[in-house]
Symmetry: C2
Subunit: 186 residues, 2 copies
DNA sequence: CGATTTCAGGACCAATCGGTCTATATATAA
DNA sequence: TTATATATAGACCGATTGGTCCTGAAATCG
């Protein structure tokens, strides 16, 4: 039932957890009520499956963009460009399932909290690794610490997702991301 | 009924819009059902009042921290320190009504969307103004553009609110904020 | 073919949703 | 005091919530 999880993910993504009602999920997954409950247990379990899917997709993307065999600064540029693309215009308005979930549920739902924290940690590690490799290649500006700069970049891209809800223009977001990266590289 | 709005704000802040039920609001405001509806119309209107109150508080804080008569870089330090304080530990876990609202409602609720966009715009303007004054005083690093750096800082602090949901340690968040500001000043 | 499994459709459930309204109590004003 | 305004508690409303269960059709399998 992989396709059903993906369709459910799309609904949670667009509407959020609490605002998603069972009929929404039935319509999207094209499952009957009985089948959905037989397959996934309850709404919360299905949500967790959808969230895991969303996280897996994001991780897969990061693993390509920030692949250690790739030129690190080029990788960071592609990584940032991806966020710019996803947080401007209509894409931005749709938002991010992970950030929306972090704000809506992470504080009160331990299962969700663990996943959110794990994702941020994993992202930070990959960005830090790319920055470390850039530093080893003497491509970092003086005084830039990979761990610290990675935390900055993670906050920045997650902030982009928030500000992206106001559907900013692609060009200005790209310029902002470029300006930030330029402070780190030489 | 100013105190009632403030109490309602606290509930929406902790639980989000959809997860807040009428009994929660009645308990918090100590109003009867009839009185609450007579005073505020409906749940959505009360929410808007609470959101406006939250935004007014944030603006008032910013107007002090980034007051034009104040030394701009000192102002930015205080401004960032405030965000660090509010996004670490238990404060961070509680989250931010504005960011949560942006993610939960801004895309589908025009009234909310306008308020969220207006707040980000106002914050960006005040930060940009402080940076401009710093630049005029030759306190900015070479190549730092106030408008662009302001957008970066806005994204950064809103990202802090997201990552803050995982209750990071105060010290590491402060160090991260310091590291970012250090890239902008000379 | 017949037997069995699978699943869609939808009736049904108790609980809760946001919202209205009335009866009662309390406070104010004359 | 009495008259009036105000605000309370809570009954009540239809709609909707997440979740269970039953019936009948379709597909699978011997």
């Amino acid at each position: 039932m992989d396709a059903a999880v993906e369709r459910a993910m799309g609904v949670f993504w667009s509407r959020g957890y609490h605002a998603t009602a069972l009929p929404d999920l039935l319509r999207a997954t094209k499952l009957s009520r009985g089948s959905l409950y037989a397959a996934f247990g309850d709404k919360h379990s299905l949500f967790l499956r959808a969230l895991d899917r969303y996280i897996a997709d994001a991780m897969a993307r990061m693993n390509i963009e920030l692949d250690p065999r790739r030129e690190p600064i080029e990788g960071l540029r592609v990584y940032l460009a991806g966020y710019v693309e996803r947080t401007s215009g209509a894409n931005g308005r749709r938002g991010c399932l992970l950030v929306a979930t972090a704000m809506e549920l992470a504080g009160r739902d331990a299962e969700v909290g663990r996943r959110v924290a794990g994702f941020f940690k994993a992202m930070e590690a990959r960005v830090a690794d790319a920055l470390s490799r850039a530093k080893a290649a003497s491509r970092l500006a003086d005084g830039v610490e990979p761990m610290s700069a990675a935390k900055i970049l993670v906050c920045f891209v997650e902030g982009l997702r928030v500000v992206g809800k106001t559907a900013p223009a692609r060009g200005t977001s790209q310029a902002t991301a470029d300006a930030l990266l330029d402070r780190f590289i030489r």
